[in-house]
Symmetry: C2
Subunit: 229 residues, 2 copies
DNA sequence: ATTACTATGTACCGAGTAG
DNA sequence: TCTACTCGGTACATAGTAA
């Protein structure tokens, strides 16, 4: 369902129109009220509510307030937009994220080579991953927003397991295209699923070698979130 | 502003999800209520309201109701969608309409050649139109919806005038591309502006000849509704 | 000028229930 | 079963006003 309260939609739209998507804009409750055709008090309360939930941020300088929509706020409105896109245009939401390659701790190779995971990869995503993950740092808030939105989309679930010594958490995957040509998948591990500024990518081959990547190189990842329709 | 009442948005989305965009679907108020997380009574009332405004149509067969969204209903939700598209993606709404060429009464040539109009065309749309309009019949409801939505968009206004004998109504124009290559404009005349199944196209040249068109041929018209931003 | 409090009104919702 | 009425409660809005 729609995460944003319907009564907040008009004020969200006006804020976006004023450019509050990523920068602070200066607007009075009275002027906002006129735009959404409600009273100043209503606008004021809406802003307080949105601030409370964490969908907008405000800072006062002098008497006036500046307003910016937070990443969470942008995410919920994006959510609504994509839902409408789906029902109106029948389009699959396709996400493109751009990030910078960086070196992790090398633990990806360790996890990817474990049979408990590998078996499931072969079964559910159709390939046996090269032992190692490619780490991408998402630099822009738009990219992190896409990443965050991924969480709301259907995914391929990989169960956790234990080997007597310790337990290994679950993971979830999204099939993806790397630089619009290589097939692979985004993998989100339980232990790190709350970090929206990083994605880990796996593929049947060594992506780093194949694309001759070094740290700091840009890479694009395209995710098709819906399997059909 | 948003023409659809915000409290109706969730039910609109559910109806679209169920495919009520162009066909009747069978759904109970109870099941709709569950989907939008409201009571059966609320769902019932919403449907009555939407029916009242003319955004949905219902027909009862036996005890049950079938629901379809009307063209007006589709237009308002499209409106919201495009507004979101604009504020989120910063995209210009571009409309493509497809229609079939047909012969009118030939009166287009008469109007287009009048100096009272020609002067304004040259000044406001930048060309002296070939004396004659090309009539397009919009066959699908999607196309008619686009046409209807045009009315809500900013346009080039052409004043009416009188020549002592009779008065000539106003017109409005939208710059357009014909088959994605020829420059021209859609012209909507006051006397016919309520007919959403037809559009008239003008251009500096004879479109019919240039594209070797005959009645029944398909033509696409692309309109850029916003001049900038 | 601001924003946001309190008090009062209205619109919207759900419970109960009829047709 | 279904839809949709009445009615009483709640959520949301505005008026008035303080800071």
């Amino acid at each position: 369902m729609v995460k944003v309260k319907t009564r907040h939609i008009p004020i969200f739209i006006e804020l976006l129109l004023l450019g509050a998507k990523e920068t602070y804009i200066q607007v009075s409750t009275t002027s906002l009220a006129n735009k959404i055709d409600k009273s100043q008090q209503a606008a004021s309360r809406h802003l307080l509510e949105l601030e409370d939930i964490g969908y907008i941020k405000r800072k006062r300088s002098g008497g006036k307030h500046s307003i910016k929509i937070t990443e969470e706020g942008n995410a919920v409105i994006m959510d609504l937009y994509l839902l409408l896109q789906r029902v109106i245009e029948g389009k699959k939401p396709v996400f493109e994220m751009n990030g910078e390659v960086f070196s992790g701790l090398g633990e990806g190779a360790y996890y990817m080579s474990m049979n408990g995971y590998r078996r499931q990869f072969v079964k559910h995503i159709g390939f046996d991953p090269y032992p190692g993950t490619l780490n991408l740092k998402l630099e822009t808030s738009a990219d992190r927003q896409q990443r965050r939105f991924l969480d709301t989309q259907s995914n391929i679930h990989i169960d956790g397991f234990e080997d007597g010594q310790r337990t290994y958490g679950w993971a979830k995957c999204y099939l993806a295209k790397i630089n619009n040509k290589l097939d692979g998948a985004i993998i989100i591990l339980e232990r790190a699923h709350y970090d929206h500024s990083v994605i880990e990518v796996i593929a049947p081959i060594n992506i780093r070698e194949r694309l001759k990547l070094k740290d700091g190189d840009k890479l694009s990842i395209t995710v098709n979130t819906m399997k059909n329709q």
